[in-house]
């Protein structure tokens, strides 16, 4: 498919199992943590295996320059940033075009759920830092960002939850990891509002049929339901000792 790259493994799927032993529909181990930073108003960590993202929310605070203030809404500013040491080969520090694009699509996804009209003229700054990258970094970033926003007390309709799906060696897979990202055929980043049929982020690279697209959308939604559950659990864990029992 489109020329071979150096270092391509001969197979990505062997006897139905992926290189790290997972079944096609399995996640890597997911870790979540909320309220990890002292100065940020809200913060969270989300990990898929070796992919590690941290998000911090500052604000709402006064926005400068005043001329750019939106008199009716808070302005959401986002920055997705990869630490140079996050990849095996040191990546150049600073924003790249890729990180600019990712910052933009994440911002647009979050704008769908935040009640920005409750803080007119202010700025809400969302910073996502990738500390370790093993594919699906924008996915981990947006999952962390969602929890960080809730931790900061920014009113939202619901959380945003995301997964990556794709195709390697002709097999449809969930939670695309390193080698699968580099040498697989299809990589699809998906985010929805909670576990609802409302897609707020979608990026697809690779050739797919309409049927595969439909199947992947379904796989993504199923995986997202689990991510959403884990995000909510993490938020509840933030306040140990609180009561949660529902009315009978």
């Amino acid at each position: 498919m489109g020329g071979s790259k150096v270092g391509a493994p001969e197979h990505l799927i062997i006897k139905g199992k992926r290189l790290d032993g997972r079944a096609p529909g399995d996640f890597r181990p997911i870790t979540t943590d909320v309220g990890v930073l002292g100065h940020a108003k809200g913060s969270a960590v989300f990990r898929f295996g070796n992919t590690w993202a941290m998000a911090g929310v500052m604000g709402p605070h006064e926005m400068h320059p005043k001329g750019l203030q939106d008199p009716a809404n808070a302005t959401l500013r986002t920055r997705y940033f990869m630490a140079p040491f996050s990849t095996w080969e040191r990546s150049r520090p600073g924003m790249s075009r890729r990180s600019t694009e990712i910052s933009k699509v994440i911002k647009e996804a979050m704008q769908q759920v935040l009640f920005l009209e409750e803080y007119p003229k202010t700025a809400i700054d969302l910073y996502m830092e990738i500390l370790q990258a093993d594919a699906s970094t924008r996915i981990a970033a947006i999952n962390a960002a969602s929890m960080a926003m809730a931790d900061a007390g920014i009113p939202m309709r619901d959380l945003i939850s995301a997964v990556s799906v794709g195709r390697a060696d002709g097999v449809l897979i969930l939670d695309v990891a390193g080698l699968e990202d580099n040498f697989g055929d299809v990589d699809m980043a998906v985010a929805t509002v909670a576990d609802k049929d409302q897609f707020v982020l979608l990026q697809v690279d690779g050739i797919i049929t309409r049927k595969e697209f439909e199947t992947l959308l379904g796989m993504a939604r199923k995986g997202i339901a689990e991510v959403y559950r884990k995000q909510k659990e993490a938020l509840i864990r933030r306040y140990p000792g609180a009561t949660m029992e529902a009315v009978q």
Partner: protein, 260 residues
């Protein structure tokens, strides 16, 4: 307010200029307009105007693809194109546009990158596509992709000095072989406005839109890249509808491109 007016219009099944929801404005594609570039194209889509130029040079290949040429797509929104465009480094919209077009060109494998290899691991052709938006009246991505692909289809290799391992810049138009282009990807952006799906909005419609999803298709109709943008959301059904539209309208646009 404009938005309410637009929403009511769309809800009643009508558009400002009377077009159908799945109808493109008139498209005009011209190629070979810039002789200093190895390839070039000018696309007018309604009143939107985009020019793309292809420049070739020889470079060392990327370490993980020693047998392939390099491909770069850049985009600029020229300030006279719209009061919204400011001078300075590319805005996030400009960056997104160039990356979305890049996705279509790269994922469709429309350039046979291995045929751009001169000496493996040492020297390859680097293809630089620069897209300049000169007038913004909506739906820039579709126009930009048409311009980039049209420019690639008609681009020619410049003179190459094998001894010096450098391109000969003799200020004459490139007259070598055509580039190894083997596919004609097309991008169709489907927009959501007042809960309905439509294509090719003019500026006013675009400003009222809730969300958009761009889908790229290859010559054989298969999808090869997608990007959702804007604040709103799409349901699964809407995404599948969009995929069908992308294939159908993609074929239409493709028929206006130069042949392979």
């Amino acid at each position: 307010m404009k938005e309410n007016f637009m929403h009511k219009l769309i809800e009643s099944g009508k558009r400002l200029d009377g077009r159908a929801f799945d109808q493109y404005r008139p498209v005009k594609i011209e190629t070979g307009i810039v002789t200093s570039a190895e390839g070039s194209a000018r696309v007018k889509l309604g009143n939107s105007l985009v020019v793309a130029g292809v420049k070739l040079d020889v470079k060392t290949p990327y370490p993980d693809t020693p047998n392939q040429g390099n491909l770069m797509v850049d985009g600029e929104f020229i300030p006279f194109a719209s009061p919204e465009f400011e001078p300075g480094p590319p805005s996030e919209e400009a960056v997104e546009l160039s990356r979305v077009v890049d996705r279509a060109v790269r994922e469709s494998h429309c350039i046979d990158l291995e045929k751009l290899c001169i000496t493996p691991s040492e020297l390859v052709w680097a293809v630089n596509i620069d897209i300049h938006v000169l007038d913004h009246d909506g739906n820039l991505i579709d126009a930009a992709c048409l311009a980039a692909v049209a420019a690639l289809l008609t681009a020619r290799f410049p003179k190459f000095d094998k001894e010096k391992k450098a391109v000969v810049r003799d200020q004459k138009p490139a007259s070598g072989e055509r580039l190894p282009v083997v596919d004609r990807p097309v991008e169709v952006t489907i927009w959501k406005l007042a809960g309905k799906l439509l294509i090719d909005p003019e500026m006013e419609e675009q400003e009222s839109a809730e969300a958009r999803v761009t889908m790229a298709t290859k010559e054989d109709g298969r999808l090869c890249a997608m990007q959702k943008g804007g604040k709103g959301f799409f349901t699964s059904n809407e995404l599948l509808q969009a995929a069908d539209l992308a294939v159908e309208k993609g074929n239409e646009l493709r028929s206006m491109l130069p042949a392979l």
